[in-house]
């Protein structure tokens, strides 16, 4: 075989769509683009989006003094419309004191512990969801940049490995559905790219707001794997990888999903 043919063949291989692999930036699509017109309309109109009720609750909590320090979030951060703008698009973010990334939920509880001297809010509690929905709502439309921090890189890698690893009795990895089979149907329902753009979000199936971690845990139970605990390093790493994989997509909180 001539050198030129060998090069041409190598180029062909390189150009062929990879079987298992990451979604190129210009092909990344939010779960929104996979939904029917009714669900889209529900998300688009703040008066019909059930997630907005949580955002309003969160606004109340933002201004409410709590804990033995008798301080509200607003006492330190002022008007969230300016101070929290774009913040959720950077989370999970590397925390220098802890030496690891923390999620927005964990940041809220760190503020409660360190600055408000208040007890942590349990995962998936109404107050924690309301506060994180209110904070993340201030980033609606902002492009996701989480994972850009060089110190976060090893954790992004850890999350990527978890995303690629098969698990559970059904022996499936996240990548098998969300990289290789999006746009197809699982038992008649569309599979999306699993983008984390809208959390916390209102799921019609849950009839309530839920966190990204809740969603990841239900995908894990779906493949009959042992789901990682809320706040575990593995879930944080997966969340960070998903956000870096969604780099550039706009935040939608609070999104609506079927």
């Amino acid at each position: 075989m001539s050198v030129w043919r060998a090069i041409a063949a190598a180029a062909l291989v390189a150009a062929a769509p990879a079987l298992a692999g990451e979604i190129p930036p210009d092909a990344r699509r939010s779960g929104y683009s996979f939904m029917g017109p009714d669900t889209r309309a529900m998300q688009d109109d703040d008066t019909s989006n059930p997630g907005m009720l949580f955002v309003l609750d969160g606004e109340q909590l933002w201004g409410k003094k709590t804990g033995s320090a008798e301080k509200a979030c607003a006492d330190c951060h002022g008007d969230a419309r300016s101070s929290m703008k774009g913040v959720a698009a950077r989370y999970p973010a590397f925390d220098k004191t802890l030496g690891r990334p923390v999620t927005l939920d964990q940041r809220i509880n760190l503020c409660r512990a360190n600055h408000q001297k208040a007890a942590p809010l349990p995962y998936e509690s109404r107050d924690l969801l309301a506060l994180s929905a209110f904070v993340a709502h201030q980033s609606r439309g902002a492009a996701i940049t989480a994972g850009d921090d060089p110190q976060a890189k090893p954790f992004v890698e850890q999350g990527r490995d978890l995303f690629m690893q098969r698990e559970g009795q059904l022996n499936l990895a996240c990548t098998n559905c969300h990289d290789d089979n999006f746009d197809k149907r699982l038992a008649g329902a569309p599979i999306t790219q699993g983008q984390p753009t809208g959390y916390p979000l209102y799921r019609l199936e849950w009839q309530t707001l839920g966190s990204l971690e809740r969603r990841l845990r239900s995908c894990m139970s779906g493949v009959r794997a042992q789901a990682y605990d809320y706040g575990s390093p593995e879930l944080v790493a997966l969340e960070l990888y998903l956000m870096s994989r969604a780099r550039g997509l706009p935040m939608e909180t609070p999104a609506v999903r079927p």
Binding site: E167, Q169, L170, L172, A187, G188
Partner: protein, 131 residues
């Protein structure tokens, strides 16, 4: 987690199939059809087939219509027991295997997805799928 893989009935792979029934007797076609359609068996999460009564079918995998023409009973049995023998990268789970898996949920650990009798019922049904 202890795996109880030794509780699986022994079987012998010959060529690209398992010629002998896992239970020693033939499966039941009617039960097999019901099993393929059952959500918990997971087949129609990925596959579609000649099942006019349900809309909830997947398209991650080939339509099962005509599977009985394309494959022998022996091949179908091995496909269900361990589909990775046909394609090492396949996403189709191995239905009769209980080890070599990561982080299996507590309720499922050490057990195959389907019992030997369920595999035989499904194999019997798939063999009837002829165009």
């Amino acid at each position: 987690m202890p795996t109880k893989a030794d509780e699986l009935a022994p079987y012998k792979v010959v060529g690209d199939g398992i010629p002998q029934s896992l239970t020693g007797s033939p499966g039941d076609v009617t039960r097999g059809r019901a099993l393929v359609l059952a959500r918990t068996t997971t087949c129609i999460l990925c596959h579609s087939g000649p099942f006019p009564e349900t809309r909830f079918q997947g398209d991650l995998a080939p339509d099962l219509t005509g599977a009985g023409n394309r494959w022998t009973t022996s091949q179908l049995r091995l496909r269900l027991v361990d589909a990775s023998r046909f394609n090492a990268e396949t996403i189709m789970p191995s239905y009769y295997r209980a080890d070599g898996l990561a982080r299996v949920g507590r309720n499922f650990a050490g057990k195959p997805i389907l019992s030997a009798a369920e595999i035989e019922d499904i194999v019997a049904f798939l063999a009837t799928l002829r165009d």
